[in-house]
């Protein structure tokens, strides 16, 4: 019951945050080539659009109507050249804070940075395999085997996708133009730095 209400809340609010869905065609236009099954690529693009991947993996900029994803940097993750001061600590009921780009988040887990999802071989998903991507979505672990993926990445929700849908997502992401952007490593919370 509780979970159902939350899901409804997330969906409703997700629909309210419309800038990314209005500009998904721009995302698709960045595809370097349409190798593979066109239906699969379309399905992947559709999933990226409705699941709000751009909300965290595309840096926000201030547009005429407020913050919006900068689709010239679609899905490139937290910008390596974006200077951040140390995150503010919580208190008085605050639990987490987010960067102006909406690609970096500070909370009880430390500081997390949205990954570069373009297929750049050194800084993105260029060396990833489809199996690794599926395992990552299913296990919530980096590369399917490594450290825990950090909030606010909703991998638990994505883990309920079918394998076919995850494959479509991967195919679409791999069709994007590779963009070199080395996202910082996460920063552990002070109490677990050892």
């Amino acid at each position: 019951m509780y979970r159902g209400q939350l899901t409804t809340w997330v969906l409703a609010l997700g629909l309210a945050a419309v800038p990314a869905s209005l500009t998904w065609h721009e995302t698709r236009a960045l595809a370097a080539e349409t190798s593979g099954d066109p239906d699969r690529l379309d399905r992947g693009a559709y999933l990226v659009r409705i699941m709000g991947c751009n909300h965290c993996h595309t840096p926000y900029k201030l547009g005429p109507h407020g913050p919006e994803p900068d689709m010239t940097r679609a899905l490139t993750g937290h910008p390596a050249d974006f200077n951040l001061s140390p995150a503010t600590s919580g208190g008085d009921g605050w639990v987490w804070s987010g960067a102006a780009t909406n690609t970096a988040f500070s909370g009880p887990w430390g500081v997390s940075f949205a990954a570069n999802l373009t297929p750049d071989s050194e800084t993105g998903l260029g060396k990833w395999t489809e199996d690794m991507f599926i395992a990552t979505m299913k296990t919530g672990r980096h590369q399917g085997k490594g450290r825990q993926i950090l909030p606010p990445m909703p991998y638990e929700n994505l883990g309920n996708l079918s394998d076919e849908d995850i494959k479509s997502l991967f195919a679409y992401l791999q069709s994007l133009a590779p963009v070199r952007n080395r996202v910082p490593s996460p920063i552990d919370a002070p109490e677990v730095q050892r």
Binding site: Y2, R3, L6, T7, W9, V10, L13, G14, A16, A17, P19, G52, H55, H65, G66, P67, E68, V95, W96, G98, N102, F105, G107, G110, E122, K127, W128, T129, M132, A135, K138, T139, G140, R141, H142, Q143, G144, K145, G146, R147, Q148, P151, P152, P154, Y155, E156, N157, G159, N160, S185, P186, I187, D188, V192, Q193, R194
Partner: protein, 352 residues
């Protein structure tokens, strides 16, 4: 006004996502590894013991002891295998055995003499290993199936650090579910040419199954009989290289193997090379670029092993760390293996 709305809506979405993570974590973990049939609720029903006593091992269940044990935060472990009667292990690939359907492995974890958990790996079909853990009660009389999402903090293993029962999805993160299965049962780990300097290595006890036993009892097919006269070993004249690489085979190669079940990212070790020329395998780690930034290294100039400088070596820094974002191995341990850290520090320091 519109700016305020957009910002508020975005923040609300993020908060909802963070909160919903906690709610759905268990459901996702449970859904990640579906079992072909209900697992027994009690360890005594899995075939490990001869009776309900939970102490006498059943006939046909054999104890084994890998020469290079996986670090499990200092817990003591015992391991057993059961092969269905009349079956044998397919050893057509001498270094990648395939087990018959019905094979079972168990691994018992003890802390200060008390049984904490016993894990089961069961080859339930030709294409699936099923993995689960059974949690012992305080007085050690019964072990009950752990939930699929695992159990956090079942026992304190050091001040402020607690041992957790892994989720089944974490089991499959290391073991896979299709082809990998057990990790500590192979030709090198069971070799009769035991490494006297193996880190945390224990002497073979009476009746412990070895590679030679498997060959002579026709439990490997085809039988790699040349391993009787020439048992596999990490081939190097340097005892430190042998023990360090042995440690890495047990603690790192489940991912860093470069094989179909391993990640293509990061450094990789190949069993065949270790058994042929371990010095060459070690050289492959030296100066190899690391995508993980070593804190003491210049930006973009991190390497896996920097000769003479452990603190500039990603392998050493990450093995020493127990911070979640950097520690290696990334799961299954919350306490540094100081004996291994010391050995690897000496090994890298000695390199020129």
């Amino acid at each position: 006004m519109r700016l305020r709305f957009a910002t508020t809506a975005l923040a609300a979405v993020l908060v909802a996502v963070v909160v919903s993570q906690q709610v759905s974590r268990a459901a996702a973990a449970a859904g990640a590894a579906l079992d072909p049939e209900p697992l027994p609720q009690h360890l005594t029903e899995t075939g490990l013991y001869a009776s309900d006593s939970g102490s006498v091992v059943a006939p046909g269940v054999r104890q084994f002891l890998p020469q290079y044990p996986l670090w499990s935060d200092g817990m003591t472990k015992r391991r057993w295998i059961f092969l269905p009667k009349g079956t044998s292990i397919n050893a057509a690939s001498e270094l990648a055995w395939q087990f018959p359907v019905g094979t079972k492995f168990w691994k018992e974890f003890r802390l200060n003499g008390r049984r904490i958990e016993t894990r089961l790996s069961w080859k339930a079909s030709a294409t699936q290993w099923v993995m689960a853990s059974y949690v012992w009660n305080e007085d050690g009389t019964d072990a009950v199936l752990a939930p699929a999402e695992g159990v956090n903090g079942v026992a304190e293993i050091a001040p402020g650090r607690r041992h957790s029962i892994p989720s089944r999805s974490d089991c499959s993160a290391c073991h896979g579910t299709i082809s990998m299965g057990p990790l500590g049962f192979n030709a090198l780990q069971l070799s009769n040419d035991r490494d006297p300097n193996a880190i945390h290595g224990d002497p073979l006890g009476e009746g412990t199954l070895t590679l030679a036993d498997l060959i002579t009892e026709n439990l490997l097919s085809p039988a790699p009989t040349h391993f009787i006269a020439n048992p596999p070993r990490i081939r190097t004249s340097n005892p430190a290289t042998r023990s360090v690489l042995g440690y890495l085979t047990a603690n790192c190669m489940m991912c860093h193997s470069g094989g179909s079940d391993g990640t293509p990212l990061g450094p990789a070790l190949a069993m065949g090379e270790l058994l042929q020329d371990a010095d060459a395998a070690a050289r492959n780690l030296v100066g190899r670029p690391s995508s993980w930034q070593v804190p003491a290294a210049a930006e973009g100039h991190s390497v896996v092993v920097h000769p003479g400088s452990p603190d500039l070596s990603a392998l050493f820094v990450r093995l020493r760390s127990r911070a979640p974002s950097s520690q290696m191995p990334p799961l299954g341990t919350v306490i540094r293996d100081q004996q291994a850290v010391d050995a690897i520090e000496r090994w890298i320091s000695s390199m020129r």
